[in-house]
Symmetry: C2
Subunit: 185 residues, 2 copies
């Protein structure tokens, strides 16, 4: 399938899920909105769960290029800012929230694939940091990602609170420098 | 209302939401299951969103006593273990996932109240740590909670991965000690 056509389908999929939630998402609706024949869409993605799963990973709207600022601190701060933007701004906030809400009720919509794909791309941040001597090679990169990404999810989605201007800097500072007083740690 | 009767209602509410999801939760179903008259339940909680919101905060099943181990490190590790247990084990995992999935689709189910209530109780962990000189009073306690609780949510729910034995210790170690190499931080 031509990349442009595929992106039109993904865009329609994410638009629909943001506007109507997972229950309102149908292959028919995506066909109408994207102008691509329904049977063509079904040939590529046998269900709406498969289609949304693919859109989450491949749509331009959710594109993610790992930052390369020259330092681990800069890269992680940029990563937190990118996640914050994703979860704070429409329409990606609605997409994330609808996809998450759907994923917990419909295991066939496999959000693990989305998180695994992101993590595979984030790896280079940590590989560069180890090469630069900024990170102990024994550190588990997934733990750092989960601490930082998780903090944004809790603050922005679960607590529904605005992020302070220094949120990314403070969160990254906590995991890189620690907040314990050295005398007691 | 007698505390015992109230707990029977909350228990029925959480049982139902774990088994059938938010869509399957009805005041009628709660009345049947708890043996409490429907009109009595409606008098206290005008909607199923109000009832589930109250159950999340007040039910014995989700009870949370802030740990008091004698150190900030011990308290935070116990807190992470408690959240991990909540999200890893049935039926609380199903309750949390159903409530979260519902909250994002039904804003009237106000999960902010649950998170605010937990945070109010967690405060004493940080107040004690400041008094003991283990934590800089300028540190934002909510940031620490969100980093740690968020990491559990991402790992256990979004990635659907098992927690390693040392997860709590490592996560707390990261935020208290930092993972950056001191030469570069």
């Amino acid at each position: 399938m031509a990349p442009r056509k595929k992106q039109a389908i993904f865009e329609a999929t994410l638009d629909l899920v943001a506007a109507k939630g997972y229950d309102g998402l149908t292959i028919e609706g995506v066909a109408d909105r994207s102008g691509v024949n329904k049977t063509t869409i079904y040939r590529w993605w046998p269900s709406k769960a498969a289609l949304l799963g693919a859109a989450l990973v491949e749509a331009e709207l959710l594109e993610f290029d790992p930052p390369d600022t020259g330092s681990l601190r800069g890269d992680l701060t940029a990563m937190v800012d990118a996640i914050a933007k994703l979860l704070d701004d429409p329409p990606t906030r609605e997409v994330a929230v609808a996809a998450l809400g759907a994923a917990v009720r419909h295991p066939e919509l496999d959000t693990r694939r989305f998180f695994a794909d992101r993590f595979a791309r984030e790896q280079e941040i940590f590989q560069r940091a180890v090469r630069r001597g900024e990170l102990d090679p024994a550190t588990d990169p997934m733990l750092l990602v989960d601490l930082l990404a998780g903090a944004v999810w809790i603050r922005v989605i679960f607590r529904d609170l605005p992020l302070t201007e220094n949120f990314a800097r403070d969160a990254v500072g906590a995991v890189l420098d620690g907040v314990g007083c050295s005398s007691a740690s």
